[in-house]
């Protein structure tokens, strides 16, 4: 899906680096909402994964073809019926989870199809967003949430704490959680200081 945060440094996007660290070499990966395929290429190059992507935007798929990736034009909201249970080591929803119509269904399907699921989200409760809402009285536009309210691909606005609570309520086990600012990991008060978060999820408590 289009429209992801552009927090670059010398080593590429920090969320991509965090995900790269999580993935075991040689594993199988399904990237839901893979966009132009940067993350998938990185994982193939650096971890030797066997990867597939699903993407709804035509022009993003063209760029995936340029990269030689295996990508399917589809809407992940329609579910993943073709895939059997646990058919991938990892299913990734990086910056696409907040863009789907039915997060419940999509995440349930991801957890069925993947042994593990990686979810990356922008943190709506980051301090800069809070300031913009509180002092300017405006919907936040930040590097992690770069879109104006009228042309954002994001359908759901959630914070890190929202996601933690969501997983707790559904009995989804969070194996690892990483929080990051523009370039560096964030250790303290992530719900206030992190722009993005990446979670490694498993089934059950």
């Amino acid at each position: 899906m289009a429209g992801v945060p552009h927090e670059m440094n010398g080593n590429g996007r920090i969320d991509h680096r965090l995900i790269l660290e999580m993935i075991e070499p040689g594993s199988t990966v399904l990237d839901l909402g893979c966009g132009t395929g940067e993350l998938l290429s990185l994982l193939i190059r650096r971890r030797g994964v066997k990867g597939q992507g699903i993407e709804i935007d035509n022009h993003a798929i063209f760029e995936c073809v340029v990269k030689g990736l295996s990508v399917f034009h589809d809407d992940i909201d329609r579910g993943l019926a073709e895939y059997g249970n646990r058919s991938f080591d990892y299913v990734i929803l990086n910056q696409s989870f907040q863009q789907v119509k039915n997060p419940d269904i999509v995440l349930r399907e991801a957890l069925r199809v993947g042994v593990r699921v990686i979810v990356g989200i922008p943190n709506f409760a980051h301090i800069v967003s809070r300031f913009q809402i509180f002092f300017r009285g405006r919907a936040p536009v930040t590097p992690a949430l770069p879109h104006e309210w009228y042309d954002t691909p994001n359908l759901h606005f959630l914070s890190i704490d929202d996601f933690l609570r969501y997983c707790r309520e559904r009995g989804i086990r969070i194996e690892k959680a990483f929080y990051a600012g523009a370039k560096h990991p964030v250790a303290l008060f992530p719900n206030l200081l992190a722009r993005t978060a990446v979670f490694l999820l498993g089934k059950g408590k």
């Binding site: 798929i61 073809v65 073709e82």
Partner: protein, 388 residues
């Protein structure tokens, strides 16, 4: 399929230039070509054209497969012709199927009438055209015959097979029949099996031909041709190749400016267009071939009742599957059924639905996006093979 709006984009260069159709004959007595039905036929001739140069290790060959009424003349110009081959914008130096890099082969199908053995060819047993003595042929038979041609050309492994519509069915059949001989496949606006709607349209066409008194049970050679029947068949075909939008854009409700001869003379431009397409078709197509080839696509079901994903398991061919949004003859859902099987089989596949208003004709008309996709796809296939 005809080239309604092919003059969309001229190539950046002169293209291939002059070409000639060649032919290859095999299956001579006493070793005829055995068909899927168990019947045999021989000798069999296939008309084909080649463009570009085959590598020393014969590793750069691409087989292009034509649609229902296409032929071997995919690119370049025949001597004295005004129009180039049917996919000239896609095949040539610097084009999607780049003849500076690849050796491109396009073969006419078995059962056809454009230089290959078909019902209008001479039956060696009688010395007369086969007519309905010609055996039923299938998509798989067409592909097996092409395999013989490639053996003759010294090509064991294909870098790619590519085709739209019936050509896509052949490409898919290639993947299923010879998975280890096909590094990649581009399947365009096609299906894994014909649906009742597709069969129904073809049946109208066949009935039109057979209802023509001139048809004479297929024995019309040297007599009056069933041209009216074939013309109606072609008109039905053309309707299914276009879309509501493309017809609106092309014809609107505009009327022809010629005087009407009688009440039901063609009045609207769309009628005139269909008549023109229909009447001209007899000049290049044999009515019996139309019967045999439409029957071949109607009987096509590549998995033959089995789950398609079982056939694709372990297949190493890299697939690119393309559908067009307004194609109602081969709608995107049919391509998605192939895609679904690829996902279930874990095949290395990519699927993209291209937006177009041109209906099924889009694969002959919407060239920019196809060029971009196929160019890069083939480049990656090449890189992958070099690395392996």
């Amino acid at each position: 399929m005809n080239l309604t709006a092919r003059k969309v984009k001229a190539g950046q260069n002169e293209g291939i230039g002059p070409v000639k159709t060649q032919s290859f004959t095999f299956g001579h007595f006493p070793a005829p070509f055995i068909l899927e039905s168990g019947e045999s036929i021989g000798p069999v001739t296939l008309a084909y054209e080649t463009y570009g140069r085959l590598d020393a290790d014969a590793s750069n060959a691409i087989l292009i497969l034509h649609a229902l009424t296409g032929d071997a003349h995919a690119a370049g110009y025949h001597e004295g012709d005004v129009n180039p081959g049917w996919w000239d914008d896609m095949i040539g130096p610097g084009r999607a199927f780049d003849t500076d890099r690849y050796f491109v082969v396009c073969s006419n199908v078995l059962g056809g009438c454009r230089g290959s053995t078909g019902p209008s060819s001479e039956n060696p047993l009688t010395g007369r055209p086969y007519g309905l003595e010609f055996p039923v042929v299938t998509i798989r038979d067409m592909v097996s015959a092409q395999r013989r041609l490639l053996d003759h050309l010294g090509i064991d492994m294909l870098l790619a097979v590519a085709g739209g519509s019936m050509g896509g069915m052949q490409a898919l059949q290639w993947v299923v029949s010879y998975p280890e001989k096909v590094a990649s496949a581009i399947l365009i606006a096609t299906t894994a099996e014909h649906t009742p709607q597709q069969i129904a349209f073809n049946e109208v066409g066949r009935q039109a031909i057979m209802a023509d008194p001139n048809w004479n049970n297929g024995d019309y050679y040297g007599l009056g041709l069933p041209d009216k029947g074939l013309s109606v068949a072609r008109m039905v075909g053309h309707i299914t190749y276009m879309s509501d939008d493309s017809m609106n854009e092309k014809f609107g409700r505009r009327v022809k400016d010629t005087k009407q001869q009688f009440k039901f003379s063609p009045e609207f431009e769309v009628e005139g267009y269909l008549h023109y397409r229909g009447y001209n078709f007899i000049n290049r197509f044999d009515p019996n071939s139309y019967l045999y080839i439409t029957k071949a696509v109607d009987s096509f079901a590549v998995a033959n009742g089995k789950p398609l994903h079982k056939l694709l398991e372990g297949v190493g061919t890299k697939l690119l599957i393309i559908a067009f949004s307004s194609d109602w003859l081969y709608p995107p859902y049919q391509a998605q059924q192939i895609v679904k099987a690829c996902k279930m089989a874990g095949a290395d596949a990519t699927y993209c639905e291209l937006r177009s208003n041109y209906g099924h004709d889009a694969f002959l008309v919407e060239l920019d996006e196809q060029t971009y996709l196929y160019t890069h796809f083939l480049k990656k296939v090449c890189d992958g093979r070099r690395a392996a």
